[in-house]
């Protein structure tokens, strides 16, 4: 029996609140989209290296690691087509605006009751992308060139986001 596109975990959720993660991934699973779950940035990176997910949904304020956006940038280098979505309940509007500025992030979404519904199109698209052949070299070359320009800004934004979290804690 062949594996359908929707059965390959094209989405990785990096979230330490297990109850919330279970609800969110169940909402995707009901529609046939399987997600991997990691609870820390480090586990997330390890899972990404293994799975090469097309969509990474990550909570910015996770314990155990300080890599933050730079880790997402590293993931992007591995799978340039991967889409990165930051979700958060803990960032200020100003920090949210800042995070949205970087090309690294596809979308920044707040944790609201409609989050699952808002993420579903991205999950569907990621599952579809996972089945498509891609000219990785061309894509990677082009994207990495963009990313090199983006890195200094990523580091600055990362620092600002971290300070925002610390201030609010």
């Amino acid at each position: 029996m062949s594996t359908s596109a929707s059965e390959i975990p094209a989405t990785l959720l990096v979230e330490d609140d297990q109850d919330f993660a279970a609800s969110l991934t169940s909402a995707f699973a009901d529609r046939g989209y399987v997600c991997d779950i990691a609870t820390t940035w480090d586990d997330g990176l390890a899972a990404f290296r293994t799975g090469g997910h097309e969509l990474v949904i990550a909570d910015y304020n996770l314990p155990g690691s300080t890599h933050g956006l730079r880790l997402l940038a590293a993931a992007k280098l591995l799978v340039p087509s991967s889409r990165l979505v930051l979700i958060s309940g803990a960032l200020s509007p100003e920090a949210e605006r800042l995070a949205s500025r970087t090309k690294l992030i596809t979308a920044f979404l707040r944790k609201t009751p409609s989050l699952a519904r808002d993420l579903l199109p991205l999950v569907e698209e990621a599952a579809h992308r996972a089945t498509l052949p891609t000219n990785w070299q061309a894509f990677a070359a082009g994207y990495v060139a963009d990313l090199d320009k983006d890195f200094p800004e990523v580091a600055q934004i990362d620092e600002a986001l971290r300070k925002d979290i610390e201030r609010r804690d």
Binding site: L24, G89, P93
Partner: protein, 670 residues
């Protein structure tokens, strides 16, 4: 019948006087030391031979004073109440005797049942040996003179004091002197009986005395308590660590009391020294109706060592202001528990504002029999007898203490003390910040389960949408889903509002009010107003600058604008909101007016007190808005409401320095 009666003293009187006259055993023992002092002794040795059973312990008190022969012993010792010292005429340079009541020796009964006295005037004489047993005097049916007191010259004391003097042996002790004092520890006092005795001996005499009045005391014992020192009793050195306040009621005229303030180098460097160093105060202003002549001249010195309590403990400085009469201490002034100057009472009454902390106050007030004949100690050694002289003496001393406290307060306390109110404010601020942080953390945490519940509702929607569900069940499930989602959205709305508050920048910034309102209105117009087909217009009529927390004002204004946008307009699909900005004197006003149907009376009544809203759900925006504005001395009020619409006004303070000349804009703008 006509006859003459005479008192006959019951033997029991002796017992009562000896055991009950003096309450403190230390005071009883000190009477013998004072007797030695009065007998012109230069040395007195106190020795405790302690046993586990107190009744077998013995106290020896040996002095090298004048001693007594049989006639003087019979005259001075065997007549309670008689004292040759009562009529003593002071001679210059000679020690003034302390005892005058002829009762001190009776205090021996307080210490033990047995008393033996050895006394002689010179080496050439044998020791007179007199033996008392106080329990023999317990018989009230016998008279005092019916109880025999044996005397001989055949015994020699086992301790010596020199060629002459008096040696007292007290046996059958009533107290266990080798024990610790029961009860709670008293600050500054030893917790052993012998330790306390040593402390009392150290301050028995004024520290500064001339060489010809030398009087050395030693205290020996075989107590097993390691804390208990043995050997010479040395008066602690009175080191002036902080303030000295020296006052004197002079001999001539007795019209005023002069005082001098001396500050240590540390005090002079640290304190805001702006009080007088020398001054006089009229006695009449202190004493009111009390005659100054009732008291006689005397002097005193108060020492106050702020922040030096530990140094005072090292020096074993006697805390408290003692009273000395002819160089010998008058009990109980200055003892722990005695507050004769009112220092502790002042501290208790003012709850932290007291200038002088009692645990760093020490000193002495000196009176004399010659100058203050009416200041007489009570027989029970519990202070001076209360009379006019005593009233004047106490009043003057307390007035001097109050004067001293005033100086210390102005120079030391006032510049450095954090008032209780400020401490309370700091505590309240800390509590507020903690509550704020807790609330912010909780609000963030709420978002997780709210988003999770939203995801579960999304799953429910997926089930509802599937063809496997029957239509009747589908509509019920859909209703369940929709209502639950509505509740979740309200929670999210509340969370978002609260987070807006937490994200406020609390520091005020200066900005032009009209420009600011225009920015806020533009944002609202581009989003909420547009989607509700509401036109929002700004009418800026002031160039006022304000210095306020910008985020807070924006939140308040957005609250009113949103309310105006969502106002009930009945069937009308379009509407408008006007935002006017004006200022006058020290206040700026932003008025937001809608063209809705007005607010029902029952809601108006509780507008700023209940969580209610005309938007169909519970809202607390106006309550929060008012509380926030009042924090910055602003406010919000309902200006008007009716069929033609509703107006709310935000009032903001304009700082004196930011007030600009009010200039109207050209008509047509906005």
């Amino acid at each position: 019948m006509k006859k003459t009666l005479r008192f006959k003293a019951s033997a029991r009187l002796q017992s009562i006087l000896s055991r009950e006259l003096v309450s403190d055993p230390n005071v009883a023992l000190l009477e013998f030391v004072k007797n030695a002092y009065d007998a012109a002794a230069t040395q007195v040795n106190i020795t405790f031979e302690l046993h586990d059973n107190p009744s077998q312990s013995v106290i020896w008190i040996a002095d090298n004073g004048e001693g007594m022969d049989l006639p003087s012993f019979e005259r001075d010792w065997m007549r309670p109440g008689f004292s040759k010292k009562a009529d003593y005429v002071p001679k210059p340079g000679r020690r003034v005797p302390v005892g005058e009541k002829g009762l001190g020796r009776l205090a021996a009964g307080r210490l033990g049942d047995g008393l033996e006295v050895y006394t002689r005037r010179s080496r050439r004489e044998p020791w007179l040996h007199v033996k008392f047993k106080w329990s023999a005097f317990d018989d009230m049916n016998r008279n005092l003179d019916e109880i025999p007191v044996p005397i001989d010259d055949e015994h020699t004391p086992t301790v010596t004091s020199g060629s002459h003097g008096t040696i007292v042996r007290i046996s059958g002790l009533r107290l266990n002197w080798s024990a610790r004092v029961p009860g709670r520890k008293v600050a500054g006092r030893s917790d052993t009986r012998i330790g306390r005795l040593r402390q009392d001996l150290e301050v028995l005499l004024l520290p500064l005395r001339s060489a010809d009045q030398a009087f050395d005391i030693s205290l020996e014992h075989n107590s097993s308590i390691p804390d208990d020192e043995a050997g010479p009793v040395v008066a602690p050195e009175i080191e002036a660590l902080g303030y000295q306040f020296l006052f004197e009621v002079k001999t001539t005229g007795l019209r005023d009391v002069s005082f001098t303030v001396v500050r240590s180098k540390e005090i002079a460097d640290e304190a805001e020294v702006r009080q007088r160093t020398k001054d006089k105060i009229k006695l009449a202003s202190i004493l009111n109706d009390i005659k100054p002549s009732s008291v006689g001249p005397f002097r005193g010195s108060f020492f106050y060592a702020p922040k030096s309590a530990s140094r005072l403990r090292e020096l074993r400085a006697p805390i408290g202001v003692q009273v000395y009469r002819d160089n010998v201490r008058v009990d109980p002034y200055g003892e722990e528990g005695d507050d004769w100057l009112g220092a502790r009472a002042k501290k208790a009454a003012r709850q932290g504002y007291a200038a002088i902390q009692p645990n760093a106050l020490y000193g002495a007030v000196e009176i004399s029999k010659k100058d203050n004949p009416n200041l007489v100690a009570m027989a029970n050694r519990e202070g001076l007898i209360e009379n006019d002289a005593y009233d004047a003496f106490i009043t003057i001393c307390r007035a001097m203490f109050a004067e001293f406290a005033k100086i210390v307060y102005v120079e030391i306390v006032e510049p450095n003390w954090t008032p209780i109110d400020e401490k309370r404010q700091d505590l309240a601020k800390g509590q507020q910040e903690f509550a704020f942080m807790l609330a912010r953390t909780a609000v963030h945490a709420v978002r997780q389960p709210v988003a999770g519940a939203g995801a579960e509702l999304d799953r429910l929607q997926h089930v509802i949408d599937s063809s496997a569900v029957k239509q009747t069940v589908r509509s019920q499930l859909q209703e369940l889903h929709d209502r639950t989602l509505a509740h979740l959205n309200r929670i999210e709305d509340i969370v978002a509002r609260m987070l807006d508050v937490f994200d406020f920048e609390p520091e005020p910034t200066e900005f032009a009010l009209s420009s600011f309102v225009e920015e806020v209105v533009k944002k609202a117009s581009d989003t909420s107003a547009k989607s509700h087909k509401i036109d929002v217009h700004v009418h800026p009529n002031t160039q006022a600058m304000v210095r306020l927390p910008r985020d807070l004002i924006e939140h308040a204004l957005v609250e009113l604008i949103e309310n105006a946008i969502h106002a009930d307009r009945g069937a009308r699909r379009k509407g408008k909101v006007d935002v006017a900005v004006s200022s006058e004197q020290d206040r700026a006003t932003i008025t937001v007016t809608d063209d809705g149907c007005g607010i029902p009376d029952d809601i108006v009544k509780h507008l700023f007190t209940r969580t209610q809203s005309t938007r169909g759900h519970i809202g607390f925006g106006l309550i929060l808005t008012r509380q926030m504005l009042r924090l910055i001395r602003g406010d919000v009020e309902l200006a008007a409401t009716g069929d033609a619409g509703t107006s709310f006004s935000i009032m903001l303070p304009i700082n004196e320095h930011q007030r600009q000349r009010d200039t109207s804009y050209a008509p047509g703008r906005g």
